[in-house]
Every structure is written in C-alpha cells, then in structure tokens.
C-alpha cells in the first residue's frame, strides 16, 4: 500500500493478522517480558537455545498495536536458527529496516519492543 497509509503496508498487516511463532514455549531456556509504559503494549518472549548456542525455537505473545505485533512476528522469523552471537549483533536499525515502513519517534518504540525483550531474554538464562 503506497501513499498516506504506508504505515500499514501489506507486510505489516499480514504479520499482524497472521503472526508467526505466536504463543509460548514450555521448555524455554530464555524468557523475558517487556512493556511500553506509555501505551500499554506488552510482549513476552520464550526461546529455546540448544547446546551449540543456536536458537532452536522461539515464540512471542502479547498485546499491542499492529506495528509492535508485526515487528515481533518478523523478529521471531529472523532469529530462529541463528546463533546467539548473530542475534546479539542485531541492532535497532536492522529491526526498523525489517519492519520496512517509516515510523515516527513514538511508533519506533512500538517496533522496538520485541528487540528490547529479546535482549533482556538473552541477557540472563532462566537457570542463572
């Protein structure tokens, strides 16, 4: 979708309406939740990392706007199968680029919520 509704181009709406990797992993090695106090968007991430430090599986759950939910869905697709080192190298610019629509400063926070959750999850394992 071009023009004024660029924010809601097909990719965003498609991920919003049909999110990938939505739910909760029972045997997770890493988990984290993040919320945006300004708008009430909330995301929880569960990941299972295997012995070779590779993300074997990932799920997200939460409630929020199309941008935050689509961004989370895109992020889970992107990190599945990647090594922790690769995932830790993900920065905000990459995430914003993957979302693929121009965002105002306020809406950038929606798009980055899942990245913040991911960083928090990988910062500490459940056992530690």
């Amino acid at each position: 979708m071009a023009g004024p509704y660029a924010l809601y181009q097909a990719q965003i709406l498609e991920h919003y309406k049909h999110p990938r990797n939505r739910g909760h992993l029972d045997l997770a090695t890493h988990t984290a939740s993040e919320s945006n106090p300004l708008c009430g968007d909330a995301i929880s991430l569960t990941l299972r990392v295997d012995g070779s430090e590779r993300i074997e599986d990932v799920r997200f759950d939460g409630e929020g706007c199309a941008i935050s939910m689509a961004s989370a869905s895109i992020l889970t697709e992107q990190v599945k199968g990647k090594t922790l080192a690769e995932v830790r190298a993900l920065d905000r610019e990459t995430v914003l680029k993957n979302v693929g629509v121009p965002l105002s400063a306020v809406r950038e926070q929606c798009a980055l919520l899942s990245l913040h959750a991911l960083r928090r999850a990988l910062g500490a394992t459940k056992e530690s």
Binding site: L7, C39, G40, E63, G64, C65, R107
Partner: protein, 415 residues
Amino acid sequence: MARAAKVLLNVPEIKKDFPILQRTMRDKPLTYLDSAATSQKPKQVIDAIVDYYSRYNANVHRAIYELGEESTREYEGARERIAEFIHAKLPTEIAFTKSTTESLNLIAYGWGLKGKLKQGDEILGTVMEHHSNHVPWHFVRDMKGATLKYVDVDDEGYLRMEQYDDLITKRTKVVTVAHVSNVLGTINDVKEIAKRAHEVGAICVVDAAQSVPHMPVNVQDLDCDFLAFSGHKMLGPTGIGILYGREKILEETEPLLGGGEMIREVHLGTAKWNDVPYKFEGGTPNIEGAIGLGAAVDYLSKIGMGSVRAHEMELTAYAMQKLAKMEGVRVYGPEDVTKRGGVVSFTMDKAHPHDIASILDVEGVCIRSGHHCAQPLMERFNLSATARASFYVYNDVEDVDRLVAALEKVHEVFA
C-alpha cells in the same frame, strides 16, 4: 438533529478565533478532538499574553513603579475572575499553581502529609481517578502509614455509590474524586460525596480538570473543601493551574514551596508564612499564565458555561449514536449523555487504539490513544488501551462526521 439549531454553538464563528484551526493537516482540515488532553487557544488568550509582555511586563506585588502595579492588577484581576467563575466565596480561596497535578500534590503534601494525617487514617479515592489523583496519596500512605481505599465503578462506568456506606468510616479523613472521568466521561455526584465525607468530619478533594472547562461548576453548591483544575484544558496556556480551597482549610494547609513571595518575615533559621493564598505561591509566579487564564475565563464566560455544556452534550449524543452504528466499535461509559461529559472512549474489534489514532492522523483527525493516565480504571475494564475523542466549543457535527469517515478507513485497512 432537530434540536441542534437550539443548543449548538455558532462553531464557524468560534473557529475564527482559533488561529491553529485555520491550518490544514496534509491538505485536510484540522479536526482536533483531543481537548481532554489539552485545548486549543483563542486569539484573545494569545493576545492577552503578548500584551502583557509587550506593554506591562514587571514582577508582581512588590514593585513601587507603575508598571509593576499594572502587572499586579492584571494578575490579581485574573484571580478574582477565576474565583467568580467557580463561585468561590473569596478570591483569596484561589491559589495559582502550575497544574491540576501540582494542586493535588499540594493538598496531599500540605494538608495530608505535613499537616493533618496520622497513621491509620483513611483516604478514600475511586478506581476512576487520573494518576495525578492516585500517586500523591500513595506518597501520604508511604510516609504516614495512612490507609488507601477505593470505590469501584459498575460496568457502565458509574461510581458504585452504595460502597460509600461501608468504605467511609470514623477513620476516613480524605474523600477524593474526579468530578468528570477523563476516560469514561462519567459525571460524579460530588455534592453527595462531599456530604458523606462531612458526616464523618473528612474533607472532600475534587479533581475538576475535566469539569471546570466544560460545565458550570459552583464550589459552594458542591460544598467541597478543595478543588483542582488546569488552565490549558480550558483555552488557557500551559503551566498554570488552580487550587481552590475553603478559606479555613487553606489556613491549615502547609505550603509546598518555600522561598520569596510566600513569607511574611524571614530570620536566620525561621520564617513566618504569608497569608493565603500567597503562602502557596513561592517564587515569581507564572504571571503570563494567570493573565492568559483570566482571558480564557472571560472567553468562556461570554459564551456561557451552560451553553458550553449543552453544546458538548449534543455533540456527544451525536457521536455516540454514530459510533454505536459502526460494526465492531464499542463505546465505554454512561449511555445517558446528561450524566457524562464530552469524552468518548471506544475500541474497535480489529484495530488497536494506536493504529486507529495513526490512521486518523493521516486524515487530519487528532484523537488520543492509550491508557489516558488511568491505568487502574483500564485494569478494571480489562483493557490495555482505548481510543478517545473529546469535544470542545470549537467542534461541530462536521468534526464528528470526519471522525466517523476516518474510522471507516480504519475498517478498510484492518478488514
């Protein structure tokens, strides 16, 4: 809309007074429906502020020269008009603060924390308060060991008045309530609540941020002890708020800020406070803010607050009727528009409130989305966010029509 001609204000004429409403957003008319957050300003208010700085800027109260007398006269004149506007007995019952938030903090600190409250005393609020009427009382509880209690709302958004029977006790010292909910629009029966508070010797504190701008308010009739509101929500500038307090209660309230202006005399290590309300106005006050708010009060008085209220009631009824017909839209708060203010919160089945607001923005329609600084109320309704449209004197039926048309676009995008 057979009744419209009788009660609606002459909005095309009013709009001419608001420079910002002459601008467009992406070549579309600016449809401003966020006055519950902050109102737009008429040129009469802007001019009053420019006039102050251009002609008679001087610090108030102690200048010997003519310029200072002029600024003092205008500053105190604003206080008098604001007192009249809410039917206070005396102008000295009006203190200038920076906001409703500061006024409520001043009450919690100066009357509660530093003054009258003891461990075990009870403060009774409601679940529909704005955060600014929750958090200051948390401070009091934490510092004084007071107990906080809350009256619930029913599913339509009315306070469950019968709960006051049990929740008000001999230990209740403060009963506090929003006059109008900034989310549901509910108009609360403050007069009855104040009466119940007084029966046990408690004071009644009213957050009037959403009522004073939109309807006639008479503090003597309400019989409340404190009442707080903000200038910027009633056509005035930001950074100016009002604390109304019954004279005797203000006397027993301690100041929040120490410094110049608020003292009678200062010696090394000791000071005596100035009279009310000056003891609450430490430091050089927001002179332009007071003068601007005075001009806003003049503007609203000229329209007449009864007419403002009737206009908003009509617009709210029209908006609620239109929204009710839209598929997947749910409107919150009382259905009876005589019992609610011009605030309409709603959700849509398929679109999150942020996405609604983003798409409306593209159409030049400004609404708010989120928790509206009322998270306890949102939790009560199991909501993370709502979209909220709110009306004022410069809105008309066409603005509501543009809102509805823009919501149709939201439907298309998220279908």
